[in-house]
Symmetry: C3
Subunit: 110 residues, 3 copies
């Protein structure tokens, strides 16, 4: 299994969730984060003063899926979360070795 | 080392912490998340209207342990966090390659 | 690539960010967590009563970097986040298999 971590614009969360659900991906965990990319935030010119908007509020979505589902989830998020402007976000993929259900006797290793 | 990530019911946090501490596992990191499983939230019938309770508040617990401690931690959390009803949560295991202490000269690779 | 996860004192975040930026590491994701180490929190004596300060507020910083950047980031955080007192924090390193940009056609596997 893999964990797909997407850091997206908060206003894109609902669209991303709907588009993922349409493809059959309902399960996910989300939480509020702050972040910046390589550009070190956004620099806004305001009344002649430059203001560095440092850490920008984002939402992190973690989705654990089977290996052969990774590409579909990535492509779905890319399309849903994109505006074309700087700061659209990033997707990271990392290994997950085991998933255990707390209620049922589910136990997946891969 | 492995990172054990448990997504549990908020009201189960204290019990889980106590039961883990009893087995010698004190160190952990927790934070508030929202989530849903494959069922896509809970559907409540209310005055003839169906209401989808979408993302449910959960607590994420991250615990980094040695490989041979993984099973004990999983079984302890499974027993402590379980109610038997839908939404009890999930446990994920992922690899951790290095742990470095910031204060002391601790440095573990495995 | 690797994900470096640092759990630090909240009051050290600005220094850590500045020191990392000076070395060229701007990109990061942060969020508020609570945590305890092996000591199980801090035990304060107050008017003859012992009070266990259980889960202490910390900040988690996640930074995804290339393999050959890991050591620089770790050493920078160690120096910036250190006070020498108990509770300075921990750094964890874990594997990241893919990074995908949502806006641009960036796609890194390693
Ligand atoms: N290397 C990284 N490590 C950890 N988090 C990162 C990293 N790069 C980006 N992020 C997270 O992803 C969020 C979105 O990044 P962002 O869209 O600004 O990426 P970018 O590389 O600057 O791309 P863009 O050109 O679209 O601005 C950041 O706010 C941060 O939370
Ligand atoms: N595949 C997944 N990826 C990311 N997070 C997940 C995934 N599956 C579950 N979670 C997280 O775990 C929480 C608990 O899941 P939940 O208990 O609903 O699992 P479930 O598979 O629906 O099991 P149950 O049958 O007990 O309801 C979710 O709210 C979500 O935060
Ligand atoms: N094994 C672990 N798993 C998950 N999180 C951990 C673990 N160990 C430490 N942490 C996180 O790191 C934070 C800082 O840990 P802390 O500085 O107390 O480590 P320590 O081992 O007690 O070192 P010190 O001797 O400096 O107190 C904790 O509050 C917790 O959030
Ligand atoms: Mg950017
Ligand atoms: Mg469920
Ligand atoms: Mg400590």
């Amino acid at each position: 299994m893999k964990k797909i971590t997407a850091i997206i614009r908060p206003e894109k969360l609902e669209t991303v969730k709907e588009d993922l659900a349409e493809k059959g991906f309902n399960a996910m965990t989300t939480f509020d984060v702050k972040g910046r990319g390589e550009q070190k935030g956004i620099c806004l010119q305001f009344r002649g003063k430059r203001n560095l908007i440092d850490m920008i509020p984002k939402i992190q979505i973690d989705i654990v899926v089977k290996n052969d589902e990774v590409e579909t989830v990535i492509q779905t998020i890319k399309q849903s979360a994109r505006t074309g402007k700087i700061g659209d976000g990033k997707i990271f993929v990392s290994p997950v070795e085991m998933v255990v259900g707390i209620r049922a006797e589910e136990y997946i290793t891969e």
